[in-house]
Amino acid sequence: MNVVMAIIEVRNLKKNFGEFTAVDDISFVVEQGDIFAFLGPNGAGKTTTIKMLTTLLLPTSGEVLVNGNNPVKEQNKVRHSFGIVFQDQSLDDELTAWENMEFHGVLYGVPKATRRQRIEEMMKFVELWERKDELVKNFSGGMKRRLEIARGLVHHPKILFLDEPTLGLDPQTRNHIWDYIKKLNQEEGMTVFFTTHYMEEAARAAKRVAVIDHGKIIAAGSPDELKQQTNKESLEDAFLALTGRSIRDEEVGSVERLRNHRKAWRH
C-alpha cells in the first residue's frame, strides 16, 4: 500500500508588498519524494513563494507547513529540513570553496567526520575538489553555481529548494547535476522543489508541475496532464498557452550594479 504524505502544504498563502500583491491566495501540496516544478514568467511570484517557505519572508496571510512545521513559528525546525540553492549568488567571495562548504556544514551541525567526508564527496562530484583552496571570487559563474548546489546538499536535506539552479550552466553540467539530484530523490526520498525557465528541463525532471502567473496558480498537474489540458505537444507550448506571450518586467539587478561599483573601488 502506498501512503503518500504531504511534505509541503500551502493554504491560501498571500504576500503583499505595499499595494502590490506578489503572491495572491495560492494553495498547493507537494508530496514527499516528489520532484515538483514551480513554473512561471519573470515576476510571477516564484521566488517570493520560496522565500516564504524557507523562513526568509513572513507571509501576509495564509498557512504553510514544511515537513510538518510552520516556517513562521517553528523556524529552526523548518530550517533543519531543507537545503536551498538561491537564484542569485550566496557564497562568500572572500573565502575559499572549501571554507564555504565547511561554514555551511558547521552551521547545520553536521558532525565533523561526516562533514569532511561529504564535503569531499560533493566537491568531487561537482568537480571542484581540485580547486578547493581557491578563493570563490576567482571562480566563473558556472563554477560558483556548482559549488552552491554542492553546498546545499552537504547536510542531506529532506527537501531541496532550487531556484533556477541551472541558470548559466552548460548542458553537460546540467545533466550531470540533475542525474545526481534524481538519484538522491530515488535513493533517499529527498523531495525537490524547483523553479526554472527551461521547460524542457521541467518536462524531463518534474513529476508534478504548478504554473504561477501574476501571483496566482493557474494550472497544476503532471507535465502530461498540462499538455493534454492545453492540447499542446510540448510543455513549453503548454506554458505559453497558459501564461500568454507578453514579456514581463524583471526587477532591476541592483546587486550587479553594486558588484561593478565595488570592483571600481578595489585596486
Binding site: 522565500k51 524557507t54 523562513t55 526568509l56 519572508l57 513572513l58 529552526n76 525546525k77 530550517r79 533543519h80 531543507f82 536551498i84 538561491f86 542569485d88 549568488q89 550566496s90 557564497l91 562568500d92 567571495d93 572572500e94 573565502l95 571554507e99 565547511e102 561554514f103 555551511h104 558547521v106 552551521l107 547545520y108 551541525g109 578563493l135 541592483s254 546587486v255 553594486l258 558588484r259 578595489r266 585596486h267
Partner: protein
Amino acid sequence: MKVIYILWLRQIKRYLRSKPRMIGSLGQPLLFLLALGFGFGPIYQKAGEGNYLQFIGPGVIAMAIIFTAIFTGIEIIWDRQFGFLKETLVAPSSRFEIMIGRTLGGATVATLQGVVVLLMTLVVGFRPTNILLLPLGLVFMLLTALVFTALGTAIATQLQDMQAFPIIMNFLIMPIFFLSGALFPLESFPEAVVLATRINPLVYGVDGLRGSLVQGAHLGLVNDFFILGLITLALLALGSYLFSKIEV
C-alpha cells in the same frame, strides 16, 4: 559553540586577506596621532597640561578600534547585497549565536587593529606608565571593540544598502568620537555637556584605556569595565533580536 567559532573565524580570515583594508584603516589614526600630536603638543604643554602625546595616545588607539569595529559590524550590509546573508539566515542556528560569533570576530579584528596602532604610538614616543597594566588596557580595547561591533551590526540589520552610511558616520560615529575625550579633555565643557557625554559608550572606553595605559581615569576603571560590559550585552541582545527579524 562551533557556530560562534566558525563565524568568528570567517571574520578573521576576511580581515587577514584584505591587506589594503588593514593598511588603509591605519592611515586615519596615524594622521591624527602625528598631525594633532605634534600640532597641538606645544599648546597643550603651554596650557600646563603636560605631554599631549601621552594624552592622545589612548585616544587614537580608541579611534582605530571604533572605526574598524563599526565597519566590520556594518559588513552585514555587504553580506545582504552579495547574497551571503541569506545563507546565514536559512541556517538552523540560533540568531544569538550568529550575532555573538560575528561580533566576537569583528571585535577581535578591531582589537588587533588597536594593537597595531598602540605599537605605532610607541614608535612616535607614547610611553605607557605601567607595563603591568597593559593587559588591562587590552581588556578595555576588546570591550570597546565589542560595543561598537555590536552597535554596527545592530544598525546594519536595519539598512538595505550603504546609502545611509554617510549619515551614520556624520551624525553618530563622528559625534561619538569627538565627544569621547579621545582628543581633548571633556572637563572644560559646560557641565550639562559633560553630563550628556555620559551616555556615550566611547567615553568609558577611552577613560578605561587611558586609565590603564597612563593613569588618569576620571570615572574609575571598575565603573568603566561594568558599564562597557553592560552596554555590550544589551547591544548583543538587541542585535540578535533585530537580526532575527531580517527579511530578504
